[in-house]
């Protein structure tokens, strides 16, 4: 296998945002340096060092062989392209979300919106319930307060119905 196009690249949900991409890129660079040194030393059997859990998931998802220089080069270039061109969204919550929660949200984005969406998590306690979503040019208020403000008529009907 020698993937050559970005569309064939499957980004795992454990890679959430730019931080993870940068971490992967640095790790891949180290790996490449280690394997290149081994090649230069003339080692007959080149053994890939132990990688991180994130890198393992990426390798599993992309099915690349890091022992192959072309695969490493392709993976590095793909990560660089993703770092520059992948669509980014920023979500704020009232509390720090769990990794499972982030994974589910990110799965929805990559399924419904774009397969390479990168997510940045923010903390905004004043939200209360719901979230705030910021894309490249837009701001989506998905909080409970905004939702209730959309249904002000119903609330007023309820209040007036109770004689307030």
């Amino acid at each position: 296998m020698e993937p050559s196009q970005t569309q064939q690249f499957l980004l795992p949900v454990s890679v959430v945002g730019l931080v993870d991409l940068g971490r992967l890129a640095r790790e891949l660079e180290l790996l490449d340096a280690v394997l290149h040194e081994a090649t230069l030393r003339g080692d007959i059997e080149v053994k890939v060092p132990k990688t991180s859990h994130l890198m393992d998931q990426l390798i599993e998802a992309t099915r690349v062989d890091l022992a192959q220089p072309k695969h490493r080069e392709w993976l590095a270039s793909t990560l660089a392209i993703l770092k520059q061109q992948a669509p980014r969204v920023h979500m704020s919550f009232s509390a720090d979300p769990s990794p499972q929660f982030v994974a589910k949200v990110l799965q929805w984005f990559r399924t419904e919106i774009h397969p390479y969406v990168l997510l940045t998590i923010g903390l905004q306690p004043s939200i209360g319930a719901g979230c705030m979503l910021r894309t490249t040019n837009k701001y989506f208020d998905l909080s409970l307060a905004k939702n209730m403000s959309k249904h002000t008529d119903i609330l007023m009907q309820k209040l007036r119905g109770q004689g307030v």
């Binding site: 769990s98 949200v105 774009h114 319930a129 979230c131 040019n137 989506f140 998905l142 905004k146 002000t152």
Partner: protein, 203 residues
């Protein structure tokens, strides 16, 4: 005018009385001279007919006659004076009464006019006060209505925030993000097209 007339009447009466007295005295002098002439003639023609006794008697008679005339004229003058004084008193009474009545009528008329003016002024003031009170009432009512509407409008505008604040204050600590996942995904689904559009065409 009335006082001048009174002075003229009194002056006329006094002048008449003085003229009468002078005429009487002048007439008495003439008679005395006639008696002297007669006496001289009697002395010339008939001596001793009119002696001193007779002359004294004539003199006494003349004196008595003169005193009688003086007395009568004084009585007439007194009656005239009394009558004039009485008429004058009546006239002054009537004039004073008439003037007083006229002055009282004028005074009463002035009082009535002033009273009418005061009543009209009070009525105008009352009318103006009623109008001002009505306007003030309307203005206050309008202000209260506007304030009420403003409060309701402000409450309606901020109602979502108010309810959100109380909801978070009541159960904010009990809301878990995992419990909100369905709600968040539903909202994302509702805004899916807009998000995708912005990510596709965003810079």
């Amino acid at each position: 005018m009335t006082l001048w007339q009174l002075i003229l009447i009194v002056g006329a009466l006094l002048s008449t009385t003085a003229a009468f007295i002078w005429n009487t005295l002048h007439t008495g002098g003439a008679k005395k001279r006639d008696a002297v002439d007669i006496e001289k003639a009697a002395e010339d023609d008939v001596e001793h007919i009119f002696n001193d006794t007779f002359r004294e008697e004539l003199r006494n008679r003349g004196r008595l006659h003169f005193e009688k005339i003086i007395s009568e004229n004084a009585m007439f003058l007194q009656q005239d004076l009394r009558l004039t004084t009485s008429q004058l008193n009546d006239y002054m009474k009537s004039e004073i009464t008439r003037n007083l009545e006229e002055e009282f009528q004028k005074y009463e008329q002035s009082i009535n006019d002033a009273k009418q003016l005061a009543i009209e002024s009070i009525q105008k003031t009352n009318t103006a006060i009623d109008e001002q009170r009505a306007l003030l009432g309307q203005e206050v009512q309008k202000q209260i209505t506007a304030e009420k509407e403003q409060l309701i409008s402000r409450f309606e505008q901020n109602m979502a925030d108010i309810i959100n604040h109380y909801v978070l204050g009541a159960i904010g600590n009990q809301i878990d993000l995992n419990d909100q996942l369905e709600f968040i995904l539903a909202d994302l689904e509702a805004n899916k097209e807009a998000i995708a559009e912005d990510l596709r065409h965003g810079a």
